[in-house]
Symmetry: C2
Subunit: 509 residues, 2 copies
């Protein structure tokens, strides 16, 4: 952290009275919780191999089909379906690294996904935005920037998505440039490129490189961005996404392949079938990344949840979603791949339902050893809305989880036998030297929870957590300042965006 | 379930539109999550043995001291402190069973605590009660009965505490009789006896026996009640509780020994010290149960949390609380004892904070393999208030957890390969025969969550989960009917309560 950043952080804490944990790598010391027996993992693996061998994946990009054919896959050009022998899949995915590090313009905010590490990301993708002051509205650039500012304000939000909301008033053709621009100006975090076609991926790579003051070629050795490739389940990889994927992998950037497998809609209604299909689709995409460039960084993404069978609408944070999250972790580890899950919920409001659904998602992700909790903060309404209050609630929950994952010290001083000996039966430890030496740092202090007694809390207006969350984001935005960027980089960035807008508007693409 | 009960249950579901899971045993298929390395468990065990050997426990009952002395403990009659060799502790606790079954008047509602089983109990102990319609008020008998009725209405609440609230308008001397009476009239669940002195424990045992139509002696072979013995940490077991404990164990009823170990207040501020002290205190109490009657049922209780060091007030559902819950499970399993934890929170309101704190408690309990989640539903405000809305929210969360704990089927039909083959890439599975055969039972259906889309939800009044919880308990109480009890048992019960009230009022004890 630079000195000016440190001063700013100090000021944020003081003015906004937000006590938060320092930026830090979050490690997960627990062995993963396994919901499948080893033979069940084998059975799902086997079923997914049969899907790849017997049914295949429709790959709508001719370039991707050619590449896969050259590696040994069978291609039916009439149907554009590609089938893979299991030996070919194993051979291709073998080169995928088991850990990915993304370095943004602030190298202190590099994130590593793999092993016992877990990274928390901002919500990505909603068309709408909501807060309790202004209500629900379409995505727009002002809110886009405020959501980024909020993410930057929380040390526990390690990464941002490309679009925490879609700023729909911006021209669709060049919107990605404005978004990438804002990502690197309003935050110093790694971000997510929209890989719909080669251009949008490449622009994201270039903008991250410019913000770091390095070249595309240097980025290849030190990736800074990721993308999510959503397989169009069942069994279809469309052309723009395949081309985005190939671009990212060619340039050594991270690709997270995430089949969107809603049980009962995009997969059969049973969990085993959904997992088998998810696994087939994810491994096909991962194989493509390695066909493009062996060793390019890639993440096994899982997004298996269910629908409400009365309406067909997707639901998240359900028991089935939690089980799928645990199971998918077992599959990802089988292939030694970093694993991505989500902090998703169904609730229309940032209320008790949103919280219990999100906690199901968070706990299942942590217990299942997710390495990237995508949509970690701010997701609401099945992903249709980014919520300011939900960002605050999620940040509080994620801090508590991070704290829960720190190990228990059992050295002699921590065991405190002499302190216990010094207090008579029925006494107390408030004034004990052992307590006095440690109490300021002994326990986690939340920023959203109200721990005052009922009387004091009621006298102060009985403000519930939902309304306190509003106060927190307001206070944080009040004191937010964009992280400083060297002037030459900023100028290069602006020039790049202007040039690319011109090219795209002229159709030079 | 009797036919009339089944009819009633059907009616409840229909009228109140509460779809709930059937009554069932909840098993936990996961291996326990371990926050301590094996050598750390050993170190905490060793420290707790040093506490018992070198510092001891103040035992304020002369009868308990005599008994412990007769078994080999050292007693200092001047200080009333009892010290135990570790070999003696090991020898005494060896006879404790690893599993406890409590049978209430409805034998279908027997609960087993031990192994992979987990039982969810109603909140116990608050002086106050709250709901969003009537606000916060002192405990009283009307609400006492309504809380019991609500517990009885939820299949996921397996057990009730003695006093979900204290009905403070009732005479303190005979209040326990009214409470036990209501416990067996308004529910058919196992309950908790207040073991403050021999009489109150014995009255609870007698009332459970009367409700079952059996004798005290038969109860000895088939326990139906438990008690919680709260050690007055640090290191003090007071006289009435020691006598209550001895009564329960003499009569073969279950004792759950739970040190109330708030770090920074009743224990040193460090987690290791709190766990060592908790372990020493719990094992001393457990040893006493086995000294009374080898083989009598007993549960290892843990309630280690922290205080807010700014105010000294207890806090629950914290990261430290969650870690302690995971660690205490490791200790309980070391001694092959059933393990009790709590669903506790600090929040003053049944809001987002209450939910994220409770989810921390619930998930840590489940991952730590608790066998009894005490205060499973309804706890608010650090235990000072029982909340109607919180009961509903907790019941929803507990159902979701129970559903999450069911195994994933991976048989051929569940794997659904033919269904996947039948749907073309980019298609959907809504109308697939595989879906149609299964969709009604495929997924868990919540009763509190609102899964409608935003527009429909907003048009219907944008009712948030907190307010929907009010609607749920109102609907349930509307259709509640006490579970039928044979007339002769009811008469015997009323006669017993009348006789005992007379004896107690006359001071005949």
């Amino acid at each position: 952290m630079t000195r000016s950043n440190a001063r700013r952080a100090g000021r944020v804490r003081e003015k906004a009275e937000i006590r938060q944990l320092p930026w830090r790598r979050v490690g997960n010391p627990f062995p993963p919780v396994e919901v499948l027996r080893p033979e069940q993992v084998d059975a799902i693996h086997d079923a997914s191999m049969r899907i790849l061998e017997e049914m295949g994946i429709e790959v709508m990009s001719g370039e991707a089909r050619s590449l896969l054919r050259s590696k040994g896959a069978k291609v039916d050009e009439a149907t554009t379906v590609v089938t893979f022998d299991r030996a070919l899949i194993a051979d291709l995915i073998r080169t995928a690294p088991s850990s990915v590090t993304l370095t943004p313009r602030n190298p202190d905010h590099a994130v590593t996904m793999g092993g016992d590490a877990i990274v928390f990301g901002l919500v990505a993708g909603p068309p709408n935005v909501h807060d309790r002051v202004n209500g629900r509205r379409n995505g727009n650039r002002t809110d886009y920037r405020r959501l980024l500012s909020l993410a930057q304000s929380f040390n526990i939000i390690h990464m941002v998505g490309n679009q925490p909301i879609a700023p729909v008033e911006l021209a669709a053709e060049t919107r990605h440039l404005d978004c990438y621009h804002d990502n690197v100006v309003y935050t110093d975090r790694a971000f997510h490129c929209t890989s719909v076609g080669r251009d949008r991926a490449m622009d994201g790579i270039d903008i991250m490189a410019l913000s770091r003051g390095i070249t595309r070629e240097q980025m290849r050795e030190s990736p800074g961005v990721t993308t999510i490739i959503s397989v169009n389940s069942p069994r279809r990889l469309d052309e723009p996404l395949a081309e985005g994927l190939m671009t990212m992998s060619e340039w050594g950037q991270c690709v997270c392949v995430t089949p969107f497998t809603l049980m009962g809609a995009m997969t059969p209604v049973t969990l085993a079938a959904a997992l088998a299909q998810q696994n087939a689709e994810a491994l096909a995409g991962i194989a493509l990344t390695q066909a493009v460039r062996p060793g390019s960084p890639v993440i096994y993404g899982a997004f298996t949840s269910n629908v409400d069978m009365r309406s067909g609408a997707p639901t998240f944070g359900t028991p089935e979603n939690a089980k799928a999250t645990l199971a998918a972790g077992q599959l990802a580890r089988r292939y030694r791949l970093p694993y991505r899950s989500s902090n998703a919920c169904t609730s229309n409001a940032a209320d008790a339902q949103a919280v219990y659904e999100s906690q199901m998602s968070i706990w299942a992700s942590v217990m299942g050893h997710s390495n990237l909790l995508y949509h970690g903060a701010g997701w609401l309404e099945g992903g249709l809305t980014a919520s300011f209050e939900k960002i605050v609630m999620d940040a509080e929950m994620l801090q508590q989880i991070a704290e829960m994952l720190t190990p228990i010290a059992t050295d002699e001083a921590s065991m405190g036998l002499e302190a216990i000996r010094d207090v008579a039966p029925g006494g107390h430890f408030f004034g004990s030297p052992h307590t006095m030496e440690r109490y300021e740092q002994a326990f986690y202090t939340p920023f959203l929870s109200d721990w005052r007694n009922y009387g004091t809390w009621a006298e102060a207006g009985a403000v519930e957590a939902e309304a306190r969350a509003t106060q927190v984001w307001q206070a944080l935005l009040d004191v937010y300042e964009p992280p400083a960027m060297p002037q030459d980089r900023l100028e290069a960035l602006e020039a790049f965006v202007a040039r690319r807008k011109e090219e795209l508007t002229k159709g030079a693409g």
